[in-house]
Subunit: 114 residues, 2 copies
DNA sequence: CTGTATCCTTCCAGATACTG
DNA sequence: CAGTATCTGGAAGGATACAG
């Protein structure tokens, strides 16, 4: 893992630096329910491209948020799991979940159907 | 205020839709300490351009997160304040603050000086 | 002071094709 | 299956000038 030098003094900005991205938040959302394979993530993250998913996973691995385990077999199997620090993002995720619910109950007359 | 139709079913995605932006989070951070004038925000949000700040403030106002009060005087004075729903973003902000602190204490040997 | 109005650049996401 | 390599388009943001 590559430690990032010179993180912003403001912890909020540090969080934004590491997680200030729509896809990263959704990746964490999915991994919070357990280890996932590349293909599972891609399917769950509706609309993400392989390139973008790979790129985000690499960055998050580098930042110590997830671990990547490759099974040397054909066809390949790769699993992604949250690290301990990654797991601790659950508080952020839950706060966003709560707030989204509050907002919807307050301002939304209907929600979209999937 | 303009209610957004068809918010995503997932509350986390709803939050991302409304707040999934670096600048918006920082605007909330600043307004959580109280009402601010346009110029105060611009100064505090180091590096943001007028155009971008204006645009974000307009969107957040439209979404019911902040209120905009114009004092009819010369030179103009405009104040921005969090609404009740905007204030409730404090939980999200605090979670990000906590997590950023955790991450820094775990992985950062030093922090940048301002 | 608090904006609009343009222009310009950059970057990231998306599509596609190919590989071990 | 899980990538890498390119190419491309468009949106977001920055710079600047001007206005009420």
């Amino acid at each position: 893992m590559q430690v990032i030098e010179n993180l912003p003094p403001c912890p909020v900005e540090t969080t934004l630096l590491l997680m200030g991205d729509k896809w990263k938040v959704l990746i964490v959302r999915d991994l919070l329910t357990g280890t996932k394979r590349f293909g599972e993530l891609k399917k769950s993250l509706n609309g993400i491209s392989q390139k973008v998913l790979t790129s985000h996973l690499r960055t998050m691995e580098k930042n110590g948020l997830i671990t990547r385990k490759v099974y040397p077999q054909v066809p390949p199997k790769v699993e992604y799991t949250l690290t301990e620090v990654g797991e601790s993002l659950k508080q952020v995720h839950d706060a966003m979940l709560d707030w989204g619910s509050i907002y919807k109950s307050k301002y939304s007359t209907k929600t979209s159907r999937v």
